[in-house]
Symmetry: C2
Subunit: 284 residues, 2 copies
Amino acid sequence: MGQIIKGKPVADAITEQLAKDVEELKGKGITPKLTIMRIGENPSDLSYERGALKRYAKVGIDTEVKAYPENISQEEFIEEIKKVNEDNKTHGILIFRPLPKQMDEDIIKHVISPEKDMDCFSPINVAKLMSGDKTGFPPCTPTAVIEILKHYNVDMKGKNAVVIGRSMVVGKPVSMLLLDENATVTICHSRTKNMAEIASKADILVVGVGKAKMVTKDYVGKDAVVIDVGINVDEEGKLCGDVDTEDCLERASLITPVPAGVGSVTTSILGKHVIKACKAQNNL
Amino acid sequence: MGQIIKGKPVADAITEQLAKDVEELKGKGITPKLTIMRIGENPSDLSYERGALKRYAKVGIDTEVKAYPENISQEEFIEEIKKVNEDNKTHGILIFRPLPKQMDEDIIKHVISPEKDMDCFSPINVAKLMSGDKTGFPPCTPTAVIEILKHYNVDMKGKNAVVIGRSMVVGKPVSMLLLDENATVTICHSRTKNMAEIASKADILVVGVGKAKMVTKDYVGKDAVVIDVGINVDEEGKLCGDVDTEDCLERASLITPVPAGVGSVTTSILGKHVIKACKAQNNL
C-alpha cells in the first residue's frame, strides 16, 4: 500500500529557506519584489494570487499586484510590461496566462524581460530550459514536480521516468528537467500506443494531460512514484487530478494527491525564482 | 537481413524540389541567398562548405562565403554578423560552430537574426523547436533524420522512438521533432541503465553520441529502423558511426550507413531552410 505525499511539507521547507534568504538580502539593504500582472478577474488567477500574497508576506518578499481590465489593448499592456521591466525595484514578473483574445502571446512573450520572467514565458527562458542552462527560470509547475521528488528523497539518476503529456505547460518542460536530473525520460501523449504498458515500466510517472482520473492502476508499476499534475473537476463537481489516486495507491509507493499536491508547491517555487532573480540582478 | 538506406536519394529528392522552388522565386525576380560565415580553416567546415557550394550552384541558390581569420575578435565578428543580418540580399546565414575560444557563444547566439538563422543557433529558434512552432528553423542534422525517415516511408505516428544522446546538437532536437511526428519518444544517455534493453524495444532508434560502433545488435529490436548520426574514426582510421552497422543489419529492417547516411542530407536541409527563409522574408 502506497503513501500519499502532500505538497505542503515541500512548500514549507522551501518557504523556510526563502525567509532566511530574504533576511540576508534585507541585511544588504535589498528587498526582493515580485510584480504580478493580471488581466481580468479569472477565479483561478485570483486564488493563486491570494496564496502568493499570503506566502510572500510571511517571508518578506514584496508583492505588488497590477490588475488590468479585461479589455485592455495589446499596445497598452505592452507599455505596462515595459514599465515593469524597467522598474528597478521589481526583480520578478508574473503575467497570468492565457491572455485575453485581443492579445497575441507570440508578441507579448518577447516583451517581458527574460531576467525578470518568472514562469518561462520568454523564449529566452524556454531555450535555456531546453539546453539545460541553469541561469534561466523554468516554469513553476514542472519545477515543483522536481522539488517534490527531491524533498521525498526520490532518486532520479538513471531511473526510468515516464511523462504523460507533451504540453509546454507540463510535459515538455518536466521532461527536460528530469533529463537534467539524469533520469531516462519517455514522453507519451494522445497518439501513444499501449500507454498503460509503457507507463507501468516507469520508476517515476508524471502525469499532466487534463483528463480526470485517466491514470488507473494498470498504468502503475509496483512501487512506482506517481506525480499528478492534473487539475480537473470530477462528475460530482469535486477537484481531482489526472490520476485515480485511490486505485493507484495499491501499486504505487508514493503518490501526490489533487488537491494538496503539486499545486501547493508552485507559489514557493515562484518565490524561489524571485530570490534567484533578485540575487542575479544585484550580482550576488 | 536489413537494408542499408543511403542519404543520397533523400538529398537528391530534396534538391530536385529546391531547383523548382528557386525557379519559381527567380520568376518573381528573387534569388535566394545563403551567406556562410566561417572562422579559420577547419577541414570539416571546408568540406561541408564545398558540398554546399556545389549543391547550391546546381539549384541556383546564391552562396557567399565570408571567411575570417582564426584570431578575429568577438567585437569584430559581432559587427560582421550585424552587417549580414541587415543585408537584404541574404536570406539565410550559417555560422560554423564551435567558434574559436575568444568568442562567447552565449553572446553571439543573440546577435544572429532569428529569421536568417539556418541552424538553430538563436535561442528564438531553440524555443520554437521546443514548442513545436513550425515557423522556426530546427537544426539541419536532426531535421535530416526526420526527412530520411519520411523519404523511406517509415511511419512515426504512435511508434516507439528511442534516442540515444541528449545533446543540443542531436539528441534533444531530434526528440522534439519526433514528438512533432507523434512518435512516443524515450531519451537515453550516459546515465541510462539497461540501455540495450530499452533501445531494443524501439521501432525507431536514433543514435547521436559520438562513440564509435557503440550500438551493437543487442540494442536493436527485430525489424527496427536505425538512424546513425555519429561520425567517428575507428581504430583503422576509417570513418564510422555510433552504430556497428554490419552487426546490427542482422536484426534491423533499415539502417543508415556512415559515411553516406545522415551527413549527406544536411546540406539539402540547409538549402530547404534558405528557401523557406527567402519566402518568409518576401511574404510568400
